[in-house]
Each structure stands twice: as structure tokens, then as C-alpha cells.
Amino acid sequence: MSGIIKLEELTKTYRSFNRREGVWGSVKDLLHRDYFDVKAVDGISLDVPEGELLGYIGPNGAGKSTSIKMLTGILKPSSGSMQVNGYHPFRDRKAYTRQIGVVFGQRTQLWWDIAVIESFRLLSKIYDVRQVDFDARLKNLSEILELEALLRLPVRKLSLGQRMRCDLAASLLHNPKLLFLDEPTIGLDAVAKDSIRDFLRAINRDFGTTIILTTHDLKEIEELCQRIVVLDKGKIIYDGSLVKVKAMPGLKRSIVIDFAGKAPLEELSTLFQGRAQFSLQSERRLVGEFAPEQLPAAEVVRTVLDRHEVADLTITEPSIEQVIVKLYRDGANGSRVAGNG
């Protein structure tokens, strides 16, 4: 199946220079600069089918923003080929922008001093949206995003969460096939985050909009995305399903057991020697961790319950943070983690 986004060996190189230190160094910079090339994005290949909700993650400087900016037509790739919904984002910029919606968390696309509804009207004019469609979409969007009370206010008077909802609506007025979101929930409170997540899920489901999401908030990725792409140092170090990556060897589950009596630390440590590590958290509580491929959870539970009276027991899957840390560590060793997307 051919995807809506196809990237092959996409690379973006920046020219940068070393700034010399001190006053004399700056004088020398004035006359001559030491230039060197930095590969912000280093040969990434990607195939995204239509209707997918893709999580795009990586630390600062991993090339996340740069690749999103190439995908949205802001930056011209240095080399490699790309095609999104049949367009080359930079070369066919004007036609291409009609196909996509973009929301950058830190920056609004709306006009600062005028009422939100005026911004919407102007945008619909820019994107050539018919009046009927505009009315219908605005009605729909303002219902889901609860914009009714905000439409008459100038953007500068909105809170961050309100502004984000308006920005989301603005990016969807022309009914784009793809939606790019760069840190859409940065700085938002939990309630606002929830409502935006629900909304993204809904438009992905109801309209089949392909969504590319970058965020620092890994919980968000966990809740929304079936597939993740992890970048590090300009390269893709993982591309695949979130479920599979969690089954990767070397990741640990954690267990918390509350005993009715005194916690039997030494007994359990001997029993599972080498396969699980335990430590005492309080007199009656024991915490431990173990790798699922070495020790099935069922065995742990059965063994503990058979021998002791247990008040409570919790087993936690490896957290996504752990997964990512592991990916970076493996990525640093030069191996691309296998995954099938």
C-alpha cells in the first residue's frame, strides 16, 4: 500500500560557524568565519499510510522540528526525495498548503489584535473555502472545541488553552487531508490537554485525517498513536508500533506487593535469584522489577500468593519513558531497532 507521505533519504544540512571566544575572537569572526556543516536531518525514509495518527518523537536537536518543517513546506530539503499527497511540499508550496493544516504550539497563526471569528473568515478566504462549507465546519468545530464564547474576542485576550483550541479550529477550516501538530499541548493544563486529545482522536476517526504529532509529552503519544517514529541525531532510530516496542527485550516490569504481615524480602530474593530484584519500601511493602522474557508475571504472582497472605499487588508495564531511554541507548550503539510499521 502506498502511503500519503513518502520520504526517501531526506536530508537537511545547515551551515553553521564556530563563534570564537572573547573580544579578540569576535574581531576575528568579523573578518573570517569557520564554517562547518551540520546535518539536522540525516537521510530519513518514511512511509505513512492515509488516516494514520503518527507520533513523532525525539529530544531537542534530534531533527524533529526540521523534518516537520520540511514536511510542511517551510524548509527546502538539501537532498533526498519527498512526496506528500502527491505534492512536493517546498516546490509546490502554494498548492500543497491547501492540503495540510499546521499548528505550532508556541506560535499562533491567528491575527493578534482582531476577533477570532475575523481571523477565521480571512483564513477561509485565503484557502478559498465556500461560505456553506465554512458555516458548516465552523459550527461543527465550535461545538466540539467549545469556541462559541471565544469567537468575538481578540486573540491576545485568550488563555493559552483557548488560543490552542482556536488555532486547531483555524487549521481545519479548509478541511485538510493532513494535520501537522508541533507540541500542540505545550504549557496546557491537564483538562485542556484532555479535551485536545479527544478532539484529535475524533477528527482522525471521523474524517480520516492523517495526523503527525510531535510532543514532549510521552503520555500523549501513548494515548493517541498506534505508531511512533523516534529520531535521534537526525536519524530514525525506531519506526513501528507502540505495542511492539514495549515488548522489546531488556525492558522491565515493576511490581509492588503489600503483605498482610512482615514483607519477606530475603525469601523472595533467594527464590527469584537473578531473575528479579526486590527491595523493601516499608515494613509491609516490597517493590521489585523483572524482565518479562526471563520471568513471566504469572509465575511471580502464583509464587507470592501461594506462600503469603497478600493485601495488594500491582504489576506495571514498562513506562514509555523507559522505552525511549532504551531506544536512545541502543541507538547510540549504532543499531536501528527493528520494528514493522
Binding site: 573580544v23 574581531v27 529530544p59 531511554v325
Partner: protein, 289 residues
């Protein structure tokens, strides 16, 4: 807010602290940083040199045209052509030293909201900006005024100062010009607390100072009523009076009175800028920054 709980990324983000952003607590450090900032923007520096040269050129040609078809020693309103060429050239060279961007800086600080950060710091905002401007002037002295003087003195027939004494007084007066203009710019910049955009105000100030300071033409070219008006304003002490010292139109024994007049205007403008600053702070606190 989410940043604290994002695992590996937040660690890396914390490692990326911009080394250039150092604390600017000591005014000396401020001067040094302004100097380095100027160096960082090297293109602005190159375009600036060319622009200054063009400034002087256009006025050189205008004055040559004014004196065209006259005797070589003819005077107009008390100035000969060589004197006028010197007046214009030295006027612009001096301007490259005394001008400052304090108004622009304040405007930027107010626009970006950073001004409230400065209010919280135990530094004198006014002194900080003047120190920063002084740092820039120091930079310009080395990398701007020296080369531009070289080019101008080479291209145009500029006369030497009337005497070494006159030159010394002229230099002292130019330092005062810096201080006086700094106050004018400070007050102009403070308008940003009241208006959404002060681009127009800054431009109006720019042109007013240019003409009323006598940079474009000596006050003796002004009609009588305008001369009276200009006498009552501080601007003539920025360019016209220092240039009179350079050309020797003010006798040496009267030179101290020129500096005294500058000093008086500096004190008066300083008091005015303090007064306006107090009101500006009130505006800021009322609006909640």
C-alpha cells in the same frame, strides 16, 4: 509544566543552556557585552560604514552646488565652502560617536515584555541602558568612527581643527552630546509605555534632532524667529555648538561656557527623563506588565 516529567528529553534540554546569556549585573560587563553583540552583527556594521559615507557625500554635493559659481573665498551666512565641507564631515563623524539606540532598545524591551524583568532586578534601568549605549559607542569608535574618518578625510577636503585646544574642547563636548542625546532617546523610548507603536515617534525625533541640532545646516542659515526657537531648545548643544568649537568659531576662553550649557541641559533632561520614567513605571504596574 509538562517538561519536568518527560524523562530523557528534559535532561537534554537542560544541557542546552545558551552560553552567551550571562548575567548582566555589573555595568562594566554590560558595556563589554554590548561591544560583543555589535561585533556579532557584522553586516550591520559594513552597511553602516557605506551609509555614513553616503550621508556625507550627499551633503558635500549639495554644499558644492550651493557655492557653485562663487568666489573661492565667498562666505554664506558666515561660512566658506571649505568650512561647510568640514562642518558637514566632522558633524557626521561626531554623530557616529554620540548617537545611540536607547529609544529602539526600550521599545523592544516593552514589546517583548522583558522590561518587567528589568524592573525586578536590582539595577538602575536608566544607567543600564546608557552603559549599554556607551559600550556600543566604544565599539563604533574603534570599528566605525576610525575607518569612516579615514575614508571621509581622504575623499573630502576637510580642514584641521582650529587649534589643539579647540579640538580637545570639541572632544569633551562630543562626550556631552552623547549624554544629552542619550536622555532624549531615553524619553523617546519611554513613549513605548503609552503607545502601541512608537516607530513614528522615533522617526520624528530622528529628523527633528537632525535638523534642530544643526547637523544638516548651521543655525545661522535659520531665519531669525527659528533661531530664537532653537536657542531655547537643547538640540543645538548636540551638534552645532561642538562643531563651532572645532571650527574655532568660539574663542578658546568661551569654550567652558559651551560645556557648561551642555551640562545644564544634560541635568535638565536627566530630571525630565527621571520624571517620565516614574510615570512609565506606574503605567506598567497598572497594566500588569
Amino acid at each position: 509544566m509538562a517538561k519536568a516529567s518527560t524523562g530523557p528529553m528534559s535532561v537534554q534540554a537542560a544541557d542546552r543552556v545558551d552560553p552567551i546569556r550571562r548575567a548582566k549585573s555589573v555595568y562594566g560587563a554590560v558595556i563589554r557585552n554590548a561591544f560583543l553583540d555589535m561585533l556579532a552583527y557584522r553586516l550591520r556594521y559594513f552597511t553602516g560604514i557605506i551609509t555614513y559615507l553616503l550621508f556625507v557625500s550627499v551633503h558635500y554635493f549639495i554644499w558644492t552646488a550651493v557655492f557653485a559659481a562663487r568666489e573661492s573665498n565667498a562666505t554664506i551666512n558666515g561660512f566658506t565652502l571649505p568650512e561647510m565641507v568640514t562642518y558637514v564631515s566632522i558633524g557626521w563623524i561626531a554623530r557616529s560617536l554620540y548617537f545611540s539606540n536607547i529609544d529602539y532598545e526600550i521599545n523592544e524591551l516593552v514589546r517583548s515584555g522583558q522590561v518587567s524583568v528589568y524592573l525586578l532586578r536590582p539595577v538602575n534601568f536608566h544607567l543600564l541602558l546608557v552603559a549599554q549605549a556607551a559600550g556600543e559607542t566604544l565599539f563604533r569608535l574603534l570599528f566605525f568612527t576610525v575607518p569612516i574618518s579615514g575614508v571621509i578625510l581622504w575623499l573630502f577636503p576637510v580642514e584641521l581643527p582650529a587649534s589643539l585646544g579647540h579640538f580637545a574642547w570639541f572632544l569633551a563636548a562630543t562626550v556631552m552630546s552623547f549624554l544629552i542625546l542619550a536622555e532624549v532617546n531615553f524619553i523617546t523610548g519611554l513613549c513605548a509605555f503609552w503607545f502601541k507603536s512608537i516607530d513614528g515617534v522615533m522617526r520624528a525625533k530622528y529628523f527633528l534632532v537632525q535638523i534642530l541640532s544643526g547637523l544638516l545646516l548651521p543655525l545661522s542659515f535659520f531665519p531669525g524667529w527659528l533661531q530664537t526657537v532653537v536657542e531655547l531648545l537643547p538640540f543645538k548643544t548636540i551638534s552645532y555648538l561642538p562643531l563651532q568649537l572645532y571650527l574655532g568659531k568660539v574663542p578658546l576662553d568661551e569654550a567652558p561656557t559651551v560645556l557648561f550649557e551642555q551640562l545644564c541641559w544634560w541635568v535638565a533632561l536627566g530630571m525630565l527623563s527621571y520624571f517620565v520614567w516614574r510615570r512609565a513605571v506606574r503605567v506598567l504596574t497598572l497594566q500588569g506588565g
